[in-house]
Symmetry: C2
Amino acid sequence: MGISERKERERTEREQRIIAAARLLAERDGWASVTVRRLAQEIEYSQPVLYAHFVNRDAIVGAVALEGFGELGPMLRTSVRRGATPTEAIQDVATAYLQFAFERPALYEAMFVLPSGLRFAKSDTPQVLRDTFGAMMVVVEPFCADYEIATESFWAALHGLAELERHGRIRSTHRDERVRHIVAMFG
Amino acid sequence: MGISERKERERTEREQRIIAAARLLAERDGWASVTVRRLAQEIEYSQPVLYAHFVNRDAIVGAVALEGFGELGPMLRTSVRRGATPTEAIQDVATAYLQFAFERPALYEAMFVLPSGLRFAKSDTPQVLRDTFGAMMVVVEPFCADYEIATESFWAALHGLAELERHGRIRSTHRDERVRHIVAMFG
DNA sequence: GTTGACAATCTAGCAATGCTTTATTTATGT
DNA sequence: ACATAAATAAAGCATTGCTAGATTGTCAAC
């Protein structure tokens, strides 16, 4: 029964190519340029085969977003310097988060702004999402008893910084000073 | 020369009707439902007429956003209780900001999320925008020497709270506790 | 081998969008 | 009353997400 296995393998390969193409295109020309037609052209299949993999365009965004969470979580964890004080740790995570947001704006957009069909803070929330939230919670925990709520606040502050700067609402200078203010929420 | 005046009057009236229709439709069915065709139908003119008022759809969003800033600024200023301590004042503004965001989600979206053609933090930034930022700056000033940067951080934190909750990224409970954490940035 | 069923894939099309070009009506000044 | 100019509308273009129906390829049974 190697045939059906080969087919399954080819199928997942093709799915990966769709996701990779979407991510690349989004990062290069923005998500508005990621059309189903263009993706089809990119993977050299006709449009309808994309719908054999994803229910709709949003689901493609969601798949890219999931990849993003798979990268952000570990990146936040490794960002903390060895032997860092709690305050340094929270600073490191904040800086790493913003760096991620600004270096991969399209990926960040898929994860936190665009409709992606992903469900957060629910019982069926994927583990990668929980892990990413956990990476932030780890450094907030030393400061607060209500660490879950505190982590939401911390995350929100970082997200706001990322979004307002991405949209040109605040200056792209003084980034570090703003981080310092945010970190001052704790300790 | 009463004719051209009448025409000008009719023109601005029509423009107002476009903006009002856009705002109403957006608040009722979301911005995706605000199409140029539907707006044309609403004001009982053909599509090209809208392009005699606005260069494109984004400009209509921008007009609605401007209205929003005209309301948010005063709302933030009046939100501060008489005789409030600096800490209470900043709390009041934070609460009022979030209330605004949650009560008029579409308006908020036009102001801070959607492409609107508005220019922030630039030399040609409209006065209403500066005033709204000023309303936040007033309550931050007592706490920091670098009050401009601090206000950006404060604003970002509030925006993050609004956005993450609006998109279901964080729970809709514990709103007050999160505000308390944000306010703890100061004082 | 031939045939028939089934799965994989594509062609072609629908309805909707933002925006523009071209035609037509309406209003204006002489 | 009429020519001209301004205001408005009808129709069309290119693009989008998504889908129904036709077509191709594959593989087992006879």
